[in-house]
């Protein structure tokens, strides 16, 4: 099962290595990871998407992360009300003949053109990973020359639905 986990850490050198090394040592596979400092430059936040086998493994993962001296807080936010965003850049083959057509496709996604060449246009799109998947699928037939995604970063929403299901250990 795919889980979104945020880890708040003290921002010092080696901390990313420590956290990813821990995940490697305990045989967890990171699907994506984003890191950046928070409103306090001494504190960073990492957002992982991790694939775990079952709840027992997930519990282990959270506890092992929490055990690290530099880790302040660990949260599995998968089942909370959250906002999730990812950014993708795509270089798409776009000769003048189809450019108008492509532009009309990308419009509902609120993607923007950030670079144009003779036959190639570079798009930037942000949104949930599902939205980005859909965007990529739509542009595939035109020929994607290059694609890069940042991985997700996420926030818990201010208002939570009561009784949002949670793992017992997180209660």
């Amino acid at each position: 099962m795919k889980r979104i986990i945020t880890v708040t850490v003290i921002n010092q050198s080696g901390v990313l290595n420590r956290v990813t090394g821990l995940l490697m040592k305990r045989q967890f596979n990171i699907e994506s990871i984003t890191v950046g400092h928070t409103e306090n430059p001494e504190i960073s936040k990492m957002t992982f998407v991790v694939n775990v086998e079952d709840e027992q493994k997930l519990e282990q993962l959270l506890k092992q992360l929490q055990k690290q001296v530099d880790v302040l807080k660990v949260n599995d936010i998968t089942e909370k009300q959250i906002v999730v965003r990812e950014l993708a850049l795509l270089k798409v083959v776009s000769p003048p003949a189809v450019r108008a057509e492509i532009n009309s496709i990308i419009e509902p996604f609120r993607a923007s053109i950030i670079d144009t060449g003779k036959n190639v246009v570079t798009f930037q799109v942000t949104g949930s990973p599902e939205k980005i998947d859909a965007f990529i699928d739509l542009l595939k037939p035109y020929g994607i020359k290059e694609l890069t995604r940042t991985g997700v970063t996420a926030f818990v929403r201010e208002t939570q639905k009561v009784n949002a299901p949670q793992l017992s250990i997180l209660k």
Binding site: V9, I10, G14, N17, R18, G21, L22, K25, Q56, E59, Q60, K63, Q64, Q66, K67, Q68, V69, D70, V71, L72
Partner: protein, 583 residues
């Protein structure tokens, strides 16, 4: 008029320093900080990158044990830490000095031994350039330390050392590495000296007090259990909770089994003690785990050598798990009642929960019958020769179970665990989790330094001993009366046993008939050596050797074709023990 410092500063418009600034460098502050932590002995080995530190040590001495190899130094520190309950301190130089420590660091991590390990490093100006004797020891040790640091600013020395000692010795103990670039040790230290040893680690707050609700649940479970069992691990020893454990077991009349590392947590001859459980534990202890209805784990981590195949482990038991490390709870065995706490505080809280109303008499009686029916067994005869079990029974007899005993890993370790009945806690030093050959002998040196008046016996195999025997120099130099007993079967005994049982007797690279003459080797180090080949000789010579006030080495030539039984074969459940009765 008396002014406070702040008021005086306002008057004179400049900071008042109560002490004239001294020209201390990082290395001086390093030694001073160790002294503040009451470090009484350092195990180490100098080299290029730690020259400034050894220079500061020369000027401001702390007792330093110069091992003959860094691995010897760190295993000695582990033995010292295990027996004294204090933090073991190690210093080695950069590069090869540091990498030679890796086995010991991993060993300490697995067995939760508090160590602070200082490694030299090349100067910060050349880190990352593949400089002479440079190794990324922070990267290398990151997965095998509780935490590690590199000093990047000389002003950080006191803080980092304070934090290192705090992290190593609190919560679940473990090794902390502090990497010291050479120019940090030589830089002038200008920050005013502070006496404070307080640490501020918001991300490290171990829970020691048990949750009251969980304690109530556990007490409730105990009062309704008919066949409860305590599994006590090394956590009991680290928490210094051996008295509480005995009182708890006696009050509720609950039998106790130990993990390998937990031995000594309860007296070896205690009527409620079933012996060690696990792969080579007693049949009674293992069957008690398989049939109990309540399993109270106090400070053990359900290691695979203890549990056997998890699918069959303790099938009828409700599990209570007391552990200071929350990550151990539920890791291997599903747990109904988790108690994150220090073992002593948890046992005290349980004891405060009123009087027991469970009745375990029938359960205890059946276990006592089992204990009588299934003791450890071996078949001795004059033709077979000297058996390792006979040696260990004599060692136990001649030391009254009071000795500090250290071992490596393997057959000799299992036999020692089976036959040596500890009367005291903190006398058992063995490499459990990592299973390190070459651990026992240097660990005995550290143990003897921690307890100068104790009888320290190092039981080792002939193969493991040869991995760290260079430390015989320390016995020669320090004249500390460590007794080295080699159970010499001219083989890697446990490898040989597994090859016999699971690999069709194909003894691939496990037999080593060519050996040094251990008696002559001892003599080369100015140590008295004994060679024992028969049980009759053993009775006389072992007694003489163990009663000596000098270091001795005893080469016991034991039967090679002897296996450790009973045994839970790998992949099997604890109830599937083989070799429980003599054939």
């Amino acid at each position: 008029m008396k002014l406070t410092v702040e008021e005086a500063e306002q008057v004179y418009e400049e900071p008042i320093t109560t002490k004239a600034p001294r020209q201390l460098n990082g290395a001086d502050v390093f030694i001073e900080t160790l002294k503040k932590h009451q470090v009484e002995v350092i195990f180490g080995y100098p080299g290029g990158a730690v020259l400034p530190i050894y220079d500061a040590l020369y000027k401001n001495p702390i007792k330093h044990i110069l091992a003959r190899h860094e691995q010897g130094a760190i295993h000695a520190a582990e033995g010292y830490a295990r027996v004294s309950g204090k933090v073991g301190v190690v210093i080695a130089t950069s590069g090869p000095g540091a990498t030679n420590l890796v086995t010991g660091i991993a060993d300490a991590m697995m067995d939760s031994i508090p160590l602070v390990v200082f490694t030299g490093q090349v100067a910060t100006t050349v880190i990352g350039t593949d400089a002479f004797q440079e190794a990324d020891i922070i990267g290398i040790t990151q997965p095998i330390t509780k935490h590690n640091y590199q000093v990047k600013d000389v002003a950080d020395f006191p803080r980092i050392i304070n934090e290192a000692f705090h992290i190593a010795s609190t919560g679940r103990p473990g090794p902390v590495v502090v990497d010291i670039p050479k120019n940090m040790a030589t830089s002038l230290f200008v920050t005013p000296e502070e006496n404070s040893q307080e640490v501020n680690l918001p991300g490290y707050q171990p829970t020691t007090k048990p949750n009251f609700l969980q304690i109530q649940k556990a007490a409730q479970a105990i009062s309704t259990a008919k066949q409860p069992l305590i599994l006590a691990g090394a956590g009991v020893l680290f928490a210094k909770a051996t008295n509480e454990l005995a009182v708890f077991a006696e009050k509720y009349q609950i039998p106790i089994t130990n993990t390998l590392l937990g031995l000594g947590g309860i007296e070896g001859n205690h009527p409620l003690f079933l012996g060690m459980a696990g792969m080579h534990g007693t049949y009674t202890a293992n069957m008690a785990i398989q049939t109990c209805d309540l399993l109270i784990n106090v400070g053990a981590r359900f290691d695979d050598r203890l549990t056997g195949n998890l699918n069959y482990f303790a099938p009828n038991a409700k599990v209570v798990h007391i552990d200071i490390d929350p990550a151990e709870i539920g890791k291997n065995v599903p747990t109904e009642i988790p108690i994150v706490a220090d073992a002593k505080e948890a046992l005290e809280a349980l004891l405060a929960q009123g009087s027991p109303n469970g009745n375990t008499a029938a359960w205890l009686e059946s276990l006592n019958i089992s204990k009588e029916q299934y003791p450890f067994h071996y078949q001795a005869s004059e033709e077979r020769g000297l058996l390792p079990q006979q040696v260990l029974e004599l060692v136990h007899e001649y030391t009254n179970g009071d000795a500090v005993v250290t071992t490596d890993v393997g057959q000799h370790q299992m036999w020692t665990a089976q036959y040596y009945k500890f009367t005291q806690p903190h006398n058992w030093v063995t490499s459990g989790g990592l299973g390190t050959m070459g651990f026992g002998f240097p660990a005995a040196i550290g143990a003897q330094l921690a307890k100068p008046n104790a009888k320290v016996v190092s039981i080792v195999g002939d193969a493991g001993f040869q991995m760290t025997l260079q430390e015989l120099s320390l016995l020669q130099e320090l004249r500390i009366p460590v007794k080295v007993i080699i159970l010499n079967n001219q083989a890697l005994g446990m490898v040989r046993q597994w090859q016999e049982t699971f690999h069709g007797e194909r003894f691939s690279q496990s037999l080593i008939p060519v050996q040094p003459d251990f008696v002559k080797l001892a003599e080369a180090y100015d140590i008295k050596g004994y060679k024992i080949e028969t049980f009759e000789d053993a009775k006389v010579l072992l007694k003489e050797a163990l009663e000596s006030d000098e270091p001795v080495l005893i080469d016991c030539r034991v039967v090679q074709k002897e296996s450790v039984y009973p045994m839970v074969a790998p992949g099997k459940g604890l109830h599937e023990m083989i070799g429980v009765k003599p054939e």
